[in-house]
Symmetry: C2
Subunit: 513 residues, 2 copies
């Protein structure tokens, strides 16, 4: 068999089921191998950022990697922004990047570029495959690297002669080390802190936002009175009725500083100390005040849930509180605003919904409104590289075909990877895309003010404006095969959302704000 | 003034007129500076690949750089593919990349990444600005580096504290070295070759495809009987009535090997020896047979036109042939095929048209049909990173507002950077986009066959298919503000093209092949 077939066969044997592909000439043997091997399904994206973002969403929901299949340096480059987000999300992703035949690179053909230099910033594991005979083993190592908790991005560059060369067969699985567990000394040290009675905030991130970890955290809060927060941009968080109501760490640095001003101990579970998203004059990077002491309970790569359970046991926090009551909020009426839009989603969202929130300045009211909704999964933009929402929702829908997905999407960010809609249509995915059409980069209007430009000039206004011409999202969605409609009132968005979420297959709703 | 203002003021003083921008928070002071300074016009792209591709097209037509304004590592990454193409095109481009405040990077905020590693593969000049006081000088050096013949990509990373810090004023221009001229020894050496009477092929690339260089080449061919060819993927080539009819170096390696099999001397003017675009089993990288000798007359960074004129003088090639006659081809009728589509463009194209050809497998018939058309400029995809056509046409139209532009565009490639259409609509650019809708990645079907998969399986077919669902380009164009229509016959495309090219402003024609 070819090296390509040995690689795909290895991936299939190790449980890989999906390959988000945008292939080119150098990947033809890998494409052919998808037909030789059963079990790995190729899903076409019309732009590489769709493929990498979909792999991120898939990895968040499945806790195992999908493959991406990308074309040389420039094809990989088109996928970097969403790999950056995947890296920040700790998502397991395995990139296969076709390259020129190893003997051809020296000729500097037009598509040659330094793939290693491009890949290193977003890859925790990176290898240029050297021989067809070793390719299966390379693939097994890439999959193991990506799968190691909490998950990361592995990139395997496959020269085309390595893909088409002769290999003996697939590789066997590598044993995965279990996640490191937190030792008793650290547990006991944190236990002393939370028992102190001082104002304490327990900040959860990464796997600390899964159900088991949250339930342990709720017991700790019940016992000690500490406040429970989630990180600002969770990769994946279980939420809703029956789970604890977590507060959310704010976005702007001065808000975090103010919040932590009344906190004496900050317990970190699956998350690092909060830092400013951007640097501003007169504002520090580090947001923890000097009289607030940070305590690292568990790193993202450790077993966060077990650490929280051990901590709960150490302080004899036996009783689990009831969690959020199941409350169906009323249906909003009247004008369409971020507040009524958020209320509309909360009013109609079905149990098991996966919400991918890249709604930017239109998003927070929904988060606040939905803590008591039916149990659901919440995902957000982890790395700040916009254009992640539509692909991530696409991947999540492929990962969980039995669950509806809502892509809650800002219009400016949505334009980066709108090709995702076509993949949703092709695959018949149950994704409802809700476009928050405020027709501007509103966050930049806010940031201009923060930068000392309260009244932007003509150029600054133009460079933050999306209204000339207005983007017709209904037209875009329809053109890419997704049934689409526009709504201009809260009442209408409630009706449209309810219908779209109930019907299978993709839908798009452009909500004019 | 701020560092940002000193930088933009410097750029304006050095003749920079356009900034293709997709800014974020870290670029707000640079955006504000565009309002402080007159002369640099911000043009918004809704995705960074639009900005970098537009800067490429602008640079090709203006022979001076535009700025791009990009947001940290991920924003830069979204522009890499078209910077790769710009690098291969020798286009002058100056990227300004906002970064976190220098003191904030150590905190590893979500958007932090290794921008240098990402930028190096596509940047011939790369600098991280260190102080507001030096930023203007950094900018002047970037502009000088990008402008040095034949043009290249310069990237200046601007930490936000450098942008907002205090600067004293703009920098003065740096003196540009004139291009190196080819010395008499090399001219005389090549003169002996072309006088030999042996079968000789003169291959022109880069600035060797401008009018002056071509006219000198035509005199050499007239005198010696050598054949004149252009490189396979010219960045910018003047063509049509009055200019010599150049043949075009073929794409597939076996075609080049066959062509050169009958050639004894290959003269290279502004171009390197041809190499295979991709490596295939049993096919060499280097396509020049052993009994064909390459002679480098002029490198791209040398004065190619002068070298050709000196060579013409050295062989006393005084008389310039008449060049292509002005022939208006007949209008095709009947079925729409790549041949009739190419004939349709050739039949109606006005004098001065700029053609950006990213039509891939649908493109060659047009090239062959248009040698005798009214004088026009032809541009092609230089680096193989698809998604360059629509942005490049956008930039060319901004560079040459008095000339109509045709974006002759494959459907698969067009999807990568379709956001360009919105910028065309916003700026009222005179671009006609002609989509060759064959609804597949046809080149990959061909390459599958070359890879030994003559009958692709279900997955290989699906991964090269764009028909399920069909992309509605009329819907996409309309949704982004561009008047759009669909044609299904040669007669109809002639009528639509003629109308669209005559009317100002952008148009889109989806030609169903």
């Amino acid at each position: 068999m070819t090296g390509a077939e040995s690689l795909i066969r290895t991936a299939a044997a190790l449980g890989v089921e999906v390959c988000f592909a945008n292939p080119g000439t150098t990947e033809m043997h890998l494409v052919a191998a998808l037909d030789e091997v059963s079990g790995v399904r190729g899903v076409l994206g019309l732009f590489e950022g769709v493929c990498t973002g979909a792999a991120d969403g898939y990895g968040r929901m499945c806790d195992k990697p999908a493959l991406t299949l990308l074309h040389l340096g420039p094809g990989f480059a088109n996928g970097i922004a969403n790999l950056h987000n995947a890296r920040r999300a700790h998502s397991p992703v395995v990139n296969l990047v076709g390259d020129h035949a190893s003997w051809h690179v020296h000729a500097d053909p037009p598509l040659a570029s330094d793939i290693e230099s491009l890949a290193r910033p977003v890859s925790s594991w990176l290898r240029i495959a050297k021989s067809a005979g070793d390719l299966a083993r390379d693939g097994a190592e890439a999959i193991a690297a990506a799968s190691r908790l909490p998950g990361s991005v592995a990139t395997l560059v496959v020269p085309s002669d390595v893909a088409w060369g002769e290999a003996s067969g697939p590789a066997s699985a590598l044993s995965l080390q279990p996640p490191a567990s937190v030792d008793g000394t650290r547990i006991e040290s944190v236990a002393r802190v939370v028992r102190s009675g001082e104002p304490t905030l327990l900040l959860l991130g990464a796997r600390g936002l899964r159900e088991r970890a949250q339930r342990a955290a709720a017991r700790i809060a019940e016992r000690t009175g500490c406040r429970l927060f989630c990180e600002t941009f969770p990769a994946r968080m279980e939420r809703g009725a029956g789970l604890p109501v977590l507060e959310r760490l704010p976005y702007f640095p001065e808000q975090v500083i103010e919040l932590l001003g009344s906190v004496r101990n900050l317990i970190l579970a699956g998350v690092s100390e909060p830092v400013a998203f951007f640097g501003y004059p007169e504002t520090p990077s580090r947001l923890v005040p000097d009289d607030c002491i940070s305590h690292r309970l568990a790193e993202p790569e450790e077993d966060v849930a077990l650490a929280l359970e051990d901590l709960a046991a150490a302080i004899a926090a036996a009783s689990e509180p009831g969690g959020a009551e199941w409350v169906t909020p009323g249906r909003p009426t009247g004008e369409l605003t971020p507040a009524t839009l958020g209320a509309a989603i909360a009013a109609v969202q079905p149990e098991g919904l996966i919400v991918m929130d890249e709604a930017a300045t239109s998003g927070l009211p929904y988060f606040l409104a939905s803590a008591h909704c039916p149990p659901h999964t919440y995902m957000s933009l982890t790395g700040g590289a916009i254009g992640q929402g539509l692909p991530c929702a696409t991947g999540a829908a492929l990962a969980c075909p039995e669950r509806p997905v809502l892509a809650f999407q800002a219009d400016g960010s949505g334009m980066y990877t709108l090709q995702s809609l076509w993949t949703q249509a092709r695959e018949g995915l149950d994704v409802t895309t809700l476009i928050c059409a405020n027709r501007q980069y509103r966050i930049l209007r806010i940031e201009l003010g923060r930068a000392g430009v309260p009244e932007p000039g003509a150029q600054a206004l133009a460079l933050t404006d999306l209204s000339n011409p207005s983007i017709d999202w209904v037209g875009l969605g329809t053109a890419l095969g997704v049934p689409s409609e526009r709504v201009e009132s809260a009442d209408a968005v409630v009706r449209s959302l309810e219908r779209a979420l109930a019907e299978p297959g993709p839908h798009l709703i452009e909500a004019l704000l």
